[in-house]
């Protein structure tokens, strides 16, 4: 991707829209993604939140955000964004709003985005609502103790797919492809993000800001307690997910997909999986080659389809 705005880390805004001292877990990949996202977005946004880990950011009477905040419910943050956006527009038409438009941002985890909140999200996209949507995807219901969500990848151990005689591989289903579900409605902008690629992340927020309508982002959010890793590994895992090809960095403008970063050589998925407790049963006490091969096969399949003829990915920077 040709960078238009953020060419080096120096070009990222210095202002911190997210203060320290929040109650989220150390090493939370979702919080880091939110911080970078908010930096690129600028201040004075209205965050509309669905129940999830980030709901804890609004623990009365504190907030670490330099923006307004309203909690709605798990199922309906996009409908809340509709109400806020419409009301701001009504007030602006009446001349009752001060200078500077406020951006409206839905903030949800993958549990809300993929499951209970999918209907209201689809409806908001269909209505062409002018809003940002940030899903921090830790691949499970993280806030309630890491139960299986539709984002949970094949083979992951969760609290509801424990490693047990009748479920030796954890979660039996592949993750649901939320990017493709969103893209099918051809909103102006959809992207995946990784906190380990701050320039790619910030650039995408900047590019999206030029479009009116739904602007949707899924950020892979390493979750130290849920993934069963030390906090210091969060960024490394976010990077390995991209380098192994498990988490493709991409965007879709009006439905047309391009990959914004493609590793020169993909690392084997094993390097990513073996670091995490949630996949430990694939390696010990006995190595489960079939399961690892299945995960690797799905990744290879994805990139084969993304790169017809084995050539460069669409939009790949040479």
């Amino acid at each position: 991707m040709k960078r238009e705005r953020y060419k080096s880390l120096r070009t990222l805004p210095r202002e911190e829209p997210l203060g320290p001292g929040g109650p989220l877990c150390a090493g939370c990949g979702g919080l880091l993604a939110l911080r970078l996202f908010h930096k690129a977005l600028g201040g004075n946004a209205v965050f509309v939140n669905a129940a999830g880990c980030c709901t804890l950011l609004a623990t009365y009477p504190f907030t670490p955000l330099r923006s307004s905040w309203i909690y709605t419910a798990m199922a309906s943050a996009p409908a809340g964004a509709q109400g806020v956006r419409d009301a701001l527009d009504i007030l602006a038409e009446k001349g009752k709003l001060g200078a500077g438009d406020r951006k409206v941002v839905v903030l949800t985890g993958d549990g809300a985005a993929q499951d209970i909140g999918l209907q209201s999200t689809m409806a908001a996209i269909h209505r062409g609502l002018d809003f940002y949507y940030l899903c921090y995807d830790n691949e499970a219901y993280g806030n309630t103790g890491f139960q299986t969500s539709a984002s949970t990848p094949y083979g992951s151990r969760t609290a509801t797919c424990p490693i047990a005689p009748l479920s030796p591989r954890g979660n039996p289903a592949p993750r649901r492809d939320l990017f493709e579900i969103w893209r099918a409605q051809k909103p102006p902008y959809v992207a995946t993000l990784s906190a380990a690629y701050p320039l790619d992340l910030a650039e995408k927020v900047f590019r999206a800001s030029k479009f009116a309508g739904p602007k949707l982002f899924i950020a892979l959010a390493p979750c130290p307690p849920g993934w069963d890793v030390d906090s210091e590994w969060a960024v490394e895992l976010a990077r390995l997910a991209v380098e192994t090809g498990i988490w493709p960095l991409k965007e879709a403008v009006h439905g047309e997909v391009s990959h914004t970063f493609v590793p020169r050589r993909f690392k084997p998925v094993e390097q990513y999986l073996s670091l995490q407790g949630r996949f430990r049963h694939l390696f010990e006490p006995k190595r489960d080659d079939a399961a690892i091969a299945l995960i690797q096969g799905a990744v290879d399949e994805y990139w084969k389809a993304a790169r017809p003829g084995g050539g460069r990915a669409p939009g790949e920077t040479p």
Partner: protein, 407 residues
């Protein structure tokens, strides 16, 4: 002021228009749909300056309603039955955020069994959420109650949302002559919305609607809501009196009918109270000393006024068009608790379940109620279900057909 022949639904739409609401998130459901269709027609024709958005569900509709009210605009919306239940979660959220919007509920019994006709099991299920509740008897009262509801809800000492209830079919589609105030008259009673606190439209960055807090703070804020509802009870007569002085129509929280020297009183709500009043008038003409009490306001509950009106009566019958399964009529429970501890409380308090799913009262049923009040059964806590023998025979017949089909 003008006068028009309007359905209850069209009247509700007129009230929203006269209240100069800014925003109407909507979702259709029978028998409420005419309200949002009417508003949509006016708004799209440019006759009414507001924004209407058809949402994907009542849950989303109520979420958008609350979020818009939090941002600083006046919001109106309407639903019925299953729709109210589907959006139920948001009732608590809206009330808890102290957002003074008005929701019209067109009563319809909740499924199963499925019916389109009214009872109040839908709206009464919402009585604990923190919404003020008004129940209208006539189309005129639908209009007046909505205007009064906004005034009360938006009062800085209240800041609670309100539900205005009207019966499906009996009121939603019944045309009555309705006095419509001119927009400037309505505006003089209900000035433009001015949010009491900095909202999401505030120029500064404001954290609003914090989500999580500890048990003592949770208790504190719930208590504040309760105090606000009590303040609404105190403020209501003042606002209703101002309404009466401007428009000439009085709307007490509790309406007495032929009650002055009544030994017996029948308690009712909503449009079926009109049938009750006709029956009381008939019984009076036969020399029976009976009157009627209609509850217009159900939340906050007008304890003191109800006690004043029922004290010293020989017997009171409560007609519930709802059922709290395993307990009985909701109003019966509420009125029982209101009368407890009253020195000269009526010695007989009886519960009648009637009018469920729109079932009309049959001739003679009010006579039977009165007879029961005069000669009360031993177990007065047990509800009496209003049924005729003819209805029972018809039910037997239908059950036999249904049973026959399976063999």
């Amino acid at each position: 002021m003008s006068r028009a022949l309007l359905t209850g639904n069209a009247t509700a739409a007129w009230a929203a228009r006269l209240a100069a609401v800014d925003y109407v998130p909507a979702f259709p459901i029978t028998p409420q749909t005419e309200i949002i269709e009417t508003l949509a027609r006016w708004i799209h024709a440019g006759e009414m300056r507001a924004r209407i958005v058809t949402m994907d569900s009542e849950h989303s509709m109520l979420t958008a309603a609350g979020a818009a009210a939090a941002t600083g605009v006046r919001v109106f919306t309407a639903t019925s039955s299953q729709g109210l239940l589907f959006g139920f979660e948001m009732l608590y959220a809206i009330a808890g955020l102290r957002l003074p919007l008005v929701l019209v509920n067109v009563s319809r019994g909740p499924a199963h069994p499925l019916t389109l006709e009214p009872d109040h099991s839908d709206v009464l299920s919402a009585r604990d959420a923190g919404f003020l509740q008004f129940h209208a008897e006539s189309c005129q009262e639908v209009l007046d109650s909505i205007l009064i509801a906004y005034r009360l809800a938006e009062h800085e000492r209240v800041l609670l949302p309100a539900i205005v209830n009207l019966d499906g079919f009996y009121l939603s589609y019944t045309r009555e002559a309705v006095d419509l105030p001119a927009p400037e008259e309505a505006g003089a009673f209900l000035p433009a919305f001015a949010p009491a606190y900095p909202a999401l439209c505030d120029p500064g960055s404001v954290a609003f609607g914090a989500a999580v807090l500890d048990s003592s703070l949770y208790t504190y804020f719930k208590h504040q809501m309760h105090l606000a509802a009590e303040a609404a009870l105190q403020l209501y007569p003042e606002i209703a009196a101002e309404f009466a002085s401007r428009f000439g129509r009085s709307h007490a929280a509790v309406e007495p009918f032929m009650l002055d020297d009544a030994d017996y009183a029948i308690v009712m709500t909503n449009s079926f109270a009109a049938m009750g009043k006709a029956e009381v008038r008939r019984l009076r003409s036969e020399g029976k000393k009976v009157g009627l009490v209609r509850l217009r306001m159900l939340r906050p509950f007008p304890h003191a006024e109800l006690r004043r009106l029922l004290a010293g009566r020989k017997g009171v019958a409560v007609v519930d068009q709802n059922i709290s399964v395993g307990k009985g009529g909701v109003l019966f429970s509420e009125i029982s608790s209101a009368l407890y501890g009253l020195a000269d409380r009526p010695p007989v308090l009886l519960s009648f379940i009637g009018g469920l799913g729109g079932r009309r009262f049959r001739p003679g049923e009010f006579d039977a109620m009165l007879e029961r009040l005069e000669n009360p059964p031993a177990d007065t806590a047990r509800a009496c279900w209003l049924f005729t023998e003819e209805e029972a025979r018809e039910i037997e017949r239908l059950l036999a057909i249904a049973g026959g089909a399976t063999t």
